[in-house]
Amino acid sequence: MGFLKKKTGIYYMVNFMLGTLLFFVLLISINTKTISWSDTGIIILICINVTLAASLNLVTGILGQLVLGHAGFMLVGAYAASLFTLHSGLPLAIAFPIGLLLSGIVAAMFGVVIGLPALRLRGDYLAIITLGFGEIIRVVANNLKITNGAMGLSGMESLSSRRNPSPMFIYAYVIAIVVVILMFTFGRSRHGRAVISIREDEIASESMGINTTYYKLFAFVFAAFIAGVAGGIYAHHYGMIDPSKFDFNRSVEILIMVVLGGMGSITGSVISATVLTLLSERLRDFSEYRMILYATILILVMLFKPSGLLGRYEISIPKLAGKLYRRIANRKPHSETGGAE
């Protein structure tokens, strides 16, 4: 992994500055209406998808566990935030951030309940449990009174209006950037390295004294929290939600963003989330072919480049300018034959 050279710190700074610069450019363009109202909506959707993909990458890329119910956490968060802002009676400017926090917390609680039994075990139980969770939470939301059944909730107000189009964008962008930075630094922190060691070899890391259950649960619940927050933004961005918006296909869309970008590469997730969101907005006419296309891409990528297109490369703009990119780690299926299993 990347040794923290002096250069690395500068690279981080430059990347961060570029992110901030992009933020201000977009902000000014939105406020001066250079970017239209509908395009602003797409940008917010991109930010939400980047947030979701980055958080799923924590579990799928860094921890190496498959989660198939990320939309379920999104659903929980979306409903939690919406119910709070609809019923709290607080002014929206105060209720919205509290609602977002709440959505994260509720989603994280669900994460603990499902993650604990699945992650105590070795193997693929998390995949099936989260798949079941994603399906069942939707059925439950379809039948509960508080969630208003299949009709869903509506009437959530967006902070943005046509006169003042930027506040939602600011929230979505800042949260996306913070999540990306968090994921990036987490992967290089003490805890992140513990999580990575579990991915590489669970038995070995356990014998090194790493509390594997704790770290697995930590990564999973962290990701659930972020997915919940993203759900909260999503609900207020669209103003209406119903359970069918958070179905299995949605989870798959997030997963394909992670897989395509590269499992373990946060910048890969950012790029693929951006590209795929734009593509699916542009290719609305071909929506019935979209899932077939996604499935084919998933299979082909797994067969020929199992770690995703970028693998674990992180793209860094100053480095790109210098050496294009640096190889952080290389992972091919052939090199893994020596594993303990």
């Binding site: 995949a127 039948n143 299995f248 998933l298 797994m302």
Partner: protein, 293 residues
Amino acid sequence: MEFITQVINGLGLGSIYALVALGYSMVYGIVQLINFAHGDIIMVGGYSVYLVMVMYGLPVWIAIPSSIIVCALAGMIIERVAYHRLLIHNAARISLLITALGVSIFLQNLFMLIFGSDPKSMPTIFPADLIKLGSLELASSTVINIVVSVLMMMGLQLLVDKSKIGKAMQATSEDAGAAKLMGINTNKVVLITFAIGSALAAVGAVLYSNTYPQIKPDMGNLLGIKAFIAAVLGGIGSIPGAMLGGYILGVAESLTKAYISTTLTDAVVFGILILMLLVKPSGLMGKNRKEKV
């Protein structure tokens, strides 16, 4: 009386879960892969019965074998096209899982594209009747389900215990490397396992569409998850375990539907899985395998 009827209805439903669970269990036992596409094989089986009976107007006794053949072939093709390359390269588990997921999504959306997403109603496969046992009144489909599933399990157990290919399967699941050294063609064993598992799913599909005469492209989703839960419940890798798990799940579902709430059945089933993983993750009849380094 009502209670006993519900239990027997549950057993009938559980029989379908059990047949599908057997396929999950066998494949998992041999290649340690949760074959997400297995649920969709049921869907393929359902549609092939529909195609043969409605589109071509052929009788049942042609529809059932052809559905079994189609499913077995589909299972083998899936193994060869999607999993084989990863299996021989010993790829990471997560890659296999994602591929399996991709196959599942592919099948579902392909059938949605071909047949449309609206449910198709099935013709009668076996004539529906009420069977009276004393004061019990049972639907004939329930009895057929139970009888067929028990026969299938006994046949499978016999195959695995006595036949050459069954012993090869056991050896491969015990230690694939050693099995290879003993001259077992493990590639062939994996292929045959997929074929048998998918054929059982086809039988499950026939029973399912006889009991609930309706098919749709995403019917495999929940059915697949529940069958997998049944396999985990009974102990993955064990044939009687998968059957037991299926029956328990079916009865639990039927009792919940009758006495608690019709909408909460899925949540109850899911709760059973979580509880099981907390209490005895190896399943009711599973062996607790020690992990070796």
